[in-house]
Structures are given as structure tokens and as C-alpha cells.
Amino acid sequence: MATDVHGSVTTPEQGKQVAGAAAPDTAVQVDGLVRAFGGRSVIDDLHLSIRPGEFVALLGRSGCGKSTLLRVLAGLDQEIDGEVLVPRRKAVAFQAPRLMPWKRVWRNVLLGLPGRPERDAAVRALQEVGLGHRADAWPKTLSGGEAQRASLARALVREPDLLLLDEPFGALDALTRIKAQRLVAELWQQRGCAVLLVTHDVEEALLLADRALVMDDGRIAYETTVDLPRPRTVSDPRFGALRARLLDRLGVDGEADEEGTEGQSTDEGADGGAGSGGVVGGTEVVGVGAASGSPAAAA
């Protein structure tokens, strides 16, 4: 990653590009970043650096400024102080797919690409995310998962050196989310671009990232490398330990939550048991209800 791919997100005061100031082995370099909304600093003296090809997950409670940081890195928010260096080629996938409803899927994928890109380029990118057959569809006909994959294809077709993902799986159902997470993991391994994934899902962060950051009070309050072998599973004991530590850092009581999730899973088991046993017991329950209801109704 040569330094010349770095374009600075310029602050209005600076108004000029500061290129090539970062070390050669960084994809993102943030120093002393401050972003205030009406006097309240959402990001306060934040420092961050991401290596090329590194997958970083950014966790934090809602409202902690993690999405603001992503918007700053994307160049969508320039009302900032401090120095921010990002690759010139970067792409964003938002929580909502944000496809232009008036453009067919393949035109959405090519939107904003320089020159006169061929339709084939869009179809190739769509095939990568398993959507090659929907290239001519209108966005309104896509399911939530398909729209999100189209949005991902639109980001990837730009061949970014930095991919910014803003809770891209947040609105998906559990099954679709698992598939989408696997897809992102595969694509990242093929592309080798740096990824910043903003999420509030600790498990998602630990399944995908090389490094997990916790943001609090406008800065990176905690960070840990996730040196678990891939592919990762939730059942790995080290995974559980990391999750507990991160949850603790996020202000959720680690121990209690561990029990809570365990309790939840046993609850689910109990539910399942009741459900399967319910066929037998359920009719009984209904029968009792009807029997006990009928005298009252008759009376």
C-alpha cells in the first residue's frame, strides 16, 4: 500500500490535502480526532491506526460515536479537527442498503465509478455476492438480504483498500445474517482489503475481526487482538472468554451475561422441550381449558 493512495479527509479550516504523511504500513491513521455536535464532543481526541488488510471491529454502546467515526473515515463528515488519513479508494456499506430505487441493480453497482464501466463488471461483482441472476431487477423486488448483498457488491466493485461497514447485518434476520457474515469473511480473505466493521454484536465482531475495539467517551477505550484460528466457532472456550471480557468493557456485567446467555440457551432448550412435548401436553391444556370454560358458558 503505497503512501500515495492516501488522501486526507480535509477539515474545512485546513482546506488542503495532506498526503503521504502516514507510515507505509497503515491503511488508516487517525490522530487527535475531535468531532463535536453543538459543543458536545462525540469524538474526543481519538487515535486509531489500521494496517492494510486488517479486519477491525468497532464496538460500542449506541450513541458512543462509532458511526460518526465511520462517517468521518468515509469522508461524509468533514466538520472535524485533527488529522485523518484514509486510502483514496474506500467504500461504504450502510446499515440500510441505500440502493437508488430508480436504477436497476446492475446500474446501482456501477453508480459513481469513473469512466464508462461495462455492465459485465457489475455482473461479476454481483456474482461474487451470489446475486448475478438479479442484475436486471429493480431494488424494490429484492429481499432484505439480497439488497444488502447488492450494496456489498456496489462497495466491492470499487476495489477498495478500505471497506467501511456500518452495522451492515443489523437489519437482517438471524439466518440471513449468518450467511452474510460468512460472505463478508470470504470476500475479505479474497480481496485482502482493510475492513472497519461497526457493530454492536460482540459475537459478530469476534467471528470476523483480527482486532476488536471498544469505543467509549469519544475515544478507543479498549482494544484486544482476536488471535483465534479461523474459521471460528462460538463454542471455542477462548471465544467465550473474549466475549465475556468485551461485554464487561461494554458495561454489560460479564458474569451475569454469561449466565444470562446460558440461561437463555437452556430456556430455549426448555422451550423446545415444551414445544415438542406440547403436542401431547398441549391438547390436554386445551381440553382442560374448554372443560373448565364450558360450565361457566353453559351457566
Partner: protein, 308 residues
């Protein structure tokens, strides 16, 4: 029914023993399909599909009955002399007059003149309205300069400026076209401006993140997003154009539909007046049909669009 079920389930022996039992139970049996009235069996009632139950007149036939009845009543009143020809001609007379007017070329040439006025006014007003809307919709400077002025002028009833237009522009084609343009421009301005300002900011941001230039954003995001508003504006402005045409041609004209009507008024030809009104109505319907077709072509991407 739940009560019957409950009773039946609660005391199956009773039901089996006294099949002529309590009235509530028997009532259920009468309306229900009799299942083998074994002990403890539920009684099932068939849910009859509506379509199978009764033969129904097609909807369009029912909808035509009202207007047809009105026509028949009108014809009957005219024939019996209750409705004099000097007040309102009979439908038969009107149809005959329409045939005459078409065959001697009066009506087609009048329609052509009127259509031309509407077309020119529509184009002129459309260009002005859309240009102003783009200026104030796309830039804040434009908004400050244009919007307040237009909003102020909008509160002037546009029909009220006819005398001024006559003084300024004489009594030829110019004041008529100016009147139509005025009505059209206001409606298009308001709707296109609202359409531009109503474009989803998230989509604009997505466009920015994709590296679109300012012009690219306008072309690929803002203008397509404003299209639904523009189509609404077009529909309103077409309706306004016909209205302006009627006003404009009533005041002073030596040709066109309005002239035909004025002339007919002088000779108490109510049949000709009604023919002209019908023509106005048909042209209005045609214009609406055109806009709908345009919408179907241009707005097929809209999730809310169900006009297929």
C-alpha cells in the same frame, strides 16, 4: 358455536343421548354440515365462498347504469317538453349537432386552435416552472432569491391577472398563452421544488460515498428522486391548463372552442355549448391518460406504484 363445541366436548354423552337436546345445540346442527353425529365429534360448518353464493353483475355495468339513467331521464324530459331547447338541448339534438360540427370542419379546426394554445402554454410554462424549481431546489442561493418571490406571487389568483395581460399583450394569442403558462408554471414549480427537497438524504449521502460529483448527484440521485413530484405537478398543471384555456377563450377570441361557445351563447344554441363542454371534458381525460402512461413508463421503479 364455541358454546356448542364446549358443551359437546364437555358432555359428549349428553349430546349422544339427547339428540333432541337443548335448543342451542340443535340450532348448530341445523346450519352445520352433519358429521356422523357420533359421541364427542365436532360439528363442522361450511364457510361458503362469496363467489359461489350469488351471481353478480359486472362492476363496469353497474357503474354505467347511473350516467345512462341520467341521459334517459334528460332525453325524456326534453321529449315531453318539460325541458325546453332554449334552456338545455336534448341529448339527441346534441349528438346530431356534434355530428354536423364535425362534418363541416368547425369543431376540428376549433379544437386544433385550442390544443395549440394549450401545447404552447404548457411548454412555455413548463420550462419556466421547472427552471425556477431547479434553481431554488438545487441551491440555497436560488432558494433565497426565487422561492420567496414565487410563494408571494402564488397567492395572487392567476385568473385575476387577465385584465393586466390584455392591457400588456393585446387581444391576440399572447394573453391566452401567457395565462395558461402562468397556471402551469406555478403548479410545476411547487411540485418539482417539493420533489427535489423531498429526496432522501440517505441516498444523497450514499451517492457521495460512491464518489459522485455534484452534477452526478443531481443527475443520478436528485432528479430521479424528484420525478414523482414532477409527475404530480404535470397532472395538476394539465388540469390548470384546460381551466386557463376556458377562461382565456371566454374573454376574447375569434377562434377556438371558447369562441365557438361564446358564439353559441349569442344565438342561444345550448346544444353547441354542451358539445364544447363535452369536448373539453374528453380532452381533459385524454391529457390525464397521457400523464398516467408517462408515469407507468417513468415510475415503474417505485415500490408504491401499483398502476399496472
Amino acid at each position: 358455536m364455541t358454546l356448542d363445541q364446549a358443551v359437546a366436548r364437555d358432555a359428549p354423552v349428553d349430546v349422544a343421548a339427547e339428540s333432541t337436546g337443548p335448543p342451542s345445540v340443535r340450532k348448530g346442527e341445523e346450519t352445520g354440515v352433519k358429521s356422523a353425529a357420533g359421541a364427542g365429534r365436532l360439528e363442522l360448518v361450511r364457510v361458503d365462498p362469496v363467489s359461489a353464493r350469488r351471481w353478480s353483475v359486472p362492476r363496469w355495468v353497474r357503474r354505467t347504469v347511473g350516467p345512462l339513467a341520467l341521459l334517459v331521464l334528460w332525453q325524456a324530459l326534453s321529449a315531453s317538453g318539460v325541458l325546453e331547447a332554449g334552456i338545455l338541448a336534448s341529448p339527441g339534438t346534441i349528438a346530431a349537432t356534434a355530428g354536423d360540427l364535425v362534418s363541416d370542419g368547425t369543431l376540428p379546426s376549433a379544437m386544433l386552435v385550442s390544443l395549440q394554445r394549450v401545447a404552447v402554454g404548457l411548454v412555455l410554462g413548463g420550462v419556466i416552472g421547472v427552471a425556477l424549481a431547479l434553481a431554488s431546489g438545487l441551491s440555497r442561493l436560488g432558494e433565497d432569491l426565487v422561492d420567496a418571490t414565487v410563494q408571494m406571487l402564488r397567492s395572487v389568483p392567476w385568473v385575476g391577472v387577465i385584465p393586466l395581460f390584455i392591457i400588456w399583450l393585446g387581444i391576440g394569442e399572447a394573453p391566452k398563452i401567457a395565462l395558461i403558462s402562468l397556471g402551469v408554471a406555478f403548479h410545476l414549480y411547487l411540485n418539482v421544488y417539493a420533489g427535489i427537497r423531498g429526496v432522501d438524504a440517505q441516498l444523497v449521502e450514499a451517492g457521495q460515498s460512491l464518489g459522485l460529483s455534484r452534477w452526478g448527484l443531481i443527475r443520478h440521485v436528485v432528479l430521479p428522486g424528484a420525478l414523482p413530484g414532477a409527475m404530480t405537478g404535470l397532472r395538476y398543471s394539465l388540469a390548470t391548463a384546460w381551466l386557463a384555456l376556458v377562461f382565456g377563450e371566454q374573454v376574447n377570441a375569434d377562434d377556438g372552442l371558447g369562441f365557438l361557445m361564446n358564439q353559441a351563447r349569442e344565438f342561444f344554441r345550448t346544444d353547441v355549448i354542451v358539445v364544447c363542454l363535452v369536448v373539453y371534458a374528453i380532452l381533459g381525460l385524454l391529457a390525464d391518460f397521457l400523464v398516467r402512461t408517462l408515469e407507468r413508463l417513468l415510475l415503474q421503479w417505485r415500490p408504491t406504484f401499483t398502476g399496472q
